[in-house]
Symmetry: C2
Subunit: 200 residues, 2 copies
């Protein structure tokens, strides 16, 4: 398809408005105008505002970060754990900085307490795959005695938590100017973390 069809246009516009005004703050009227159709035409694609929201949720649920971040060439670098962790963190920041992902994280933070149609929407769920990947990585590093024999689950949280907070703190500004600030803060964190876990 040359252009995204109307159904996907609606999804994109809805995500944009939800991410800026929240679910109840965004209206079908605004969304339809952004798409370029009338409100009533929306209902040919989704039966309700709620259904649009749920469609957004499942579209992000299907995504998996593994392949994107943990490419084969990166895995080859595990022998050089310092550099590996830095590259991994950088890719994570890049991933979280993609426009769609930024918007989704904003929606996640905004709607995690509102329980729209009894749907669970939690940062725990959002981070679970990443944490699992990190657990495996650190578990492997402990086994091969590259790092101290610490609990991989704990290491996973210590590694990811500051990165995620850094990411969410820079989520307000709409421009991408300060992405380098994010990288710098992330890098300093990784350095601190690496020195804490390495075997001298």
């Amino acid at each position: 398809m040359k252009h995204p069809d109307t159904k996907e246009k609606i999804l994109n516009a809805a995500l944009d408005f939800f991410s800026r005004h929240g679910y109840s703050g965004a209206s079908i009227r605004q969304i339809s105008r952004a798409v370029g159709i009338r409100e009533s035409a929306i209902y040919n694609h989704y039966k309700s505002k709620e259904e649009i929201f749920l469609a957004i949720l499942s579209s992000f649920k299907l995504k998996t970060i593994s392949k994107e971040i943990l490419s084969d060439d990166l895995l080859d670098e595990v022998i050089n754990p310092d550099k590996f962790l830095k590259t991994f963190a950088r890719r994570l920041i890049e991933h979280w900085n993609k426009p769609g992902e930024r918007k989704f994280i904003r929606v996640l933070l905004m709607e995690q307490f509102t329980h729209i149609s009894n749907k669970e929407l939690s940062t725990t769920d959002y981070l679970s795959e990443l944490r699992e990947i990190c657990r495996l990585i650190f578990s492997e590093m402990v086994k091969t005695k590259i790092i101290k024999p610490l609990d991989p689950g704990l290491l996973s949280e210590e590694f990811t938590a500051p990165l995620f907070l850094i990411r969410t703190e820079y989520l307000s500004s709409d421009d991408f100017v300060d992405i380098n600030t994010v990288y710098e803060r992330a890098n300093k964190h990784v350095e601190f973390f690496w020195k804490a876990i390495r075997i001298k």
Copy 2:
């Protein structure tokens, strides 16, 4: 005044609804019902919904965590940094777990992107005082050579970031059942952090 506490009742009810449904999701109607008066009576105390929101913001802006968490008896314990950090973290969790604080953090996370009446509402602002306190503490620890000569600003973030993420992750559940889980996770973090910065 015949009913001197109505104004504060409104503030409390509003905070409660804002924290569960967001600013636009909460209505004056619901708030007034919770207070036990009609919608129109609200406007004898606040001229608009927005004014109620701003009143909540300034009521939390006035609060200062220093005195509450950094009591004199705790400061005396700096000689025993391991225990000091654990107590400090525990008090922080306790502070963040107070019903009003929990609600405010929820509102903060929900409304940080919506820019209600152009008001800045950011986690950076919310955490700034705490971070400043931590910087001072770690700066002192570096000076007295209790810990490694690391950047106090970095240490402040490494110490607080996982604690704050832990706090926000357990903010969804309304009950207080799993507060001990929060304490456990916080404790493990402090142990990891302490081992990373201490001079052996």
